[in-house]
């Protein structure tokens, strides 16, 4: 569920003044890039695998209708059920029906972005069913009534003090004066508290990283093991998945898995990669008696065949945001969407409408780092540009931006005038810049820009002029 995307600018401003958030961002910045780079360096085939991965998803999307039908037939052949859902409301209703039939009071949950997308927790609570997040990060966010700020490290914006404080408030059955000597003491407390929830739950809800058409299998990837406990112990397992999670075969899935963990956490492979196929078999000693898949569309089918189709290749690794200068400055909450960073800036307007989210595709310097690390080679900046074009066409851009572009357009259509004006501006700024040691702390009409950073002064000559001069000199 979307809340504050329209307020991106105010959110970003507040984020930059938030000392706790900035501390968390500083802690993450370097490791995010370093761990991925190290993992990529250990696998010489990584670049070739990116191309393979892209090819697999493109093939799937070109035949998505066929693979969806094949997948659903395989799930049903093994005693599972597929619930096709066009809207978040369809999905919530389907989940509730299953929970009601199972007489569920408590529902444990593995980490799922689709759950965030459909606002499942709030909905279940209103219906008198207690949802319990079991991913460590999601668990503390539930205690704090906060949204995830990162698609795989949902609570990375919190600091140790926040964890201790929230646990003291929530776990009142434990001695109030207990001491958390190490971070592992905090983790151990969560483990103990959640163990009871795992065994008490009637229904377990997980997401899915992949759905395999060949075998009717859902795949989850975790490090904690919470997703596995969630889908193994309760009587009913519900998988929440959007329809672009489809992959044709097990082998295709393995190729995608080879790039997923390396791009995400820099691990060679996540600790638990689990393939689930239908309910408990006749002679199985454990596992759920019912297996349901909530297959969500929510605007994705409409992306097929458009300039945004490539976004459906996304495997939610988070490499784009981990390397994004904007994300690493403002954090995930500023985006006001469960999908943040570059992938969120492209996906959010597609799922929730450009009216709500038109500011997000503007939250980019177009440095292109996101594309260069995307394991699926998604042209993120190109798609943000498409959104910006649509924003302009639909008059969603603010008046000042439109006026500015109008002025620029006037000059650019008159090349002689444009060159004269830019030459004069470059000369003037170059001259002024030399008196200010090459940087402007403030500039007329650019106050919003220079408030957060210095503007490097031009050298005094336009690129065009210099290029012409050097060509003549050859």
């Amino acid at each position: 569920m979307l809340n504050t995307s329209p307020a991106f600018k105010e959110n970003a401003r507040r984020a930059m003044d938030d000392a706790g958030l900035q501390k968390a961002l500083d802690r993450a910045k370097k490791p995010f890039a370093a761990v991925r780079a190290a993992a990529v360096a250990r696998l010489p085939e990584f670049e070739a695998l990116r191309e393979t991965a892209k090819g697999i998803k493109n093939h799937t999307l070109a035949h998505l209708d066929f693979y969806l039908e094949h997948y659903a037939a395989r799930v049903e052949a093994q005693g599972g059920a597929v619930h096709w859902c066009r809207t978040p409301e369809d999905a919530r209703t389907a989940v509730l029906d299953i929970c009601r039939k199972a007489g569920a009071k408590t529902v444990t949950k593995g980490k799922s972005m689709i759950s965030e997308e459909i606002g499942l927790n709030e909905f279940l609570e209103k219906q008198g069913i207690e949802p319990v997040e079991t991913d460590l990060g999601e668990y503390i966010l539930q205690l704090r009534h906060e949204a995830p700020s990162h698609i795989i490290g949902p609570a990375f914006h919190l600091n140790r003090e926040d964890w201790e404080e929230s646990f003291r408030v929530a776990h009142t059955h434990l001695p109030a004066d207990r001491v958390f000597h190490e971070k592992r003491d905090i983790q151990a407390e969560a483990r103990a508290v959640l163990r009871e929830k795992f065994t008490a739950a009637d229904v377990g809800i997980t997401g899915a990283n992949f759905l395999i058409a060949e075998t009717g299998t859902s795949v989850i990837v975790t490090n904690e093991g919470n997703g596995d406990l969630t889908q193994t112990l309760p009587r009913v397992h519900i998988v929440l998945a959007s329809l672009e999670k489809l992959v044709p075969t097990v082998e295709d899935t393995l190729s995608l898995l080879r790039v997923l963990a390396r791009s995400a956490t820099g691990q060679e492979f996540s600790v638990y990669t689990t393939f689930s196929t239908g309910p408990k078999r006749a002679d199985d000693l454990d596992g759920p008696g019912e297996y349901h898949v909530i297959l969500l569309d929510n605007g994705r089918a409409n992306m097929v065949g458009t300039e945004f189709q490539d976004m459906l290749r996304c495997i939610r690794c988070s490499a784009c945001m981990n390397h994004c200068p904007v994300y690493l400055t403002v954090g995930g909450h500023a985006y006001g969407s469960m999908y943040s960073g570059p992938m969120g800036s492209v996906l959010t307007p597609a799922l929730f409408g450009a009216e709500q989210a038109h500011l997000l595709p503007n939250a980019s310097t177009f440095c292109g780092k996101c594309e260069s690390v995307c394991p699926m080679k998604i042209p993120l900046t190109g798609m943000m540009r498409h959104w910006r074009e649509r924003e302009f066409e639909r008059h969603l851009a603010p008046a000042t931006a439109r006026t500015g572009l109008g002025v620029w357009g006037f000059f650019v259509r008159r090349p002689a005038l444009y060159r004269a004006a830019t030459r004069a501006a470059a000369w003037g700024l170059g001259l002024a810049g030399r008196r200010r040691r090459g940087h402007f702390a403030r500039l007329p009409l650019a106050g919003a820009w220079t408030r957060e950073r210095d503007m490097p002064a031009p050298e005094g000559e336009t690129f065009f002029a210099r290029y012409g001069r050097e060509q003549r000199g050859r």
Partner: protein, 236 residues
Amino acid sequence: MSASNRERRDAILATIRCGLKRGALPEDQAMMLRARLAAHPRQAIPARVDLDHDGLIELFVANATREYATIDRIADRSELPEAIASYLRTQNLPMELIIAPDPALQAVDWAGTALLTARFGRAAPADMVSVQEGFAGIAETGTLMLPSGARTPTTLNLLPDTEIVVLDAAQIVGPYEDAFDRLRVAGDMPRNVMLVTGPSRSADIERTLELGAHGPRRLHIVLVGPHGSGLDGAIA
């Protein structure tokens, strides 16, 4: 399938086909896709697994150790109870085992080792140490393949604090694909197939890696195979 479910399915498929600018896939193309599904071709496999079997064992051991699993090696299953008892003693762990009801593990003389108690079945929340039969070891990343089944319940991989996996050295393969090939030979896809790489962990608190999040804190692998078969570098 309910009528409304069918309606929603048809609407989703129609929207996708509209985007793809075609109707349902023509039969000749559908046949080609079904043939690809049946053949499930492999994509490129990393060259790091181009090794002989001894080399694969070494790679498996190195990668599993790197991911914080511990490895022991024995020549024969008759040594298993003593090897496990010795591990439990050094780790100061209880001597009560919940063991997978697999014939290869049931055939072991557990009662012959003092203080060790053995029970067979699925795990309960109170169980501290489990013994699971490994289906395959994947050298590429030091990963275990643990399928569910009547002989190998999934809860053994999840509930106990310590999981011990017994793996025949012959079951070590190079890439994930080889392990799935063996699984396909064994029959249909089991309900649950876990690929496990090291013990449970989380870095959710300030990005500091801590072992033992929700699953086992310790993953101990006992490799069974003749000595001198690429196991000399193994870490006990």
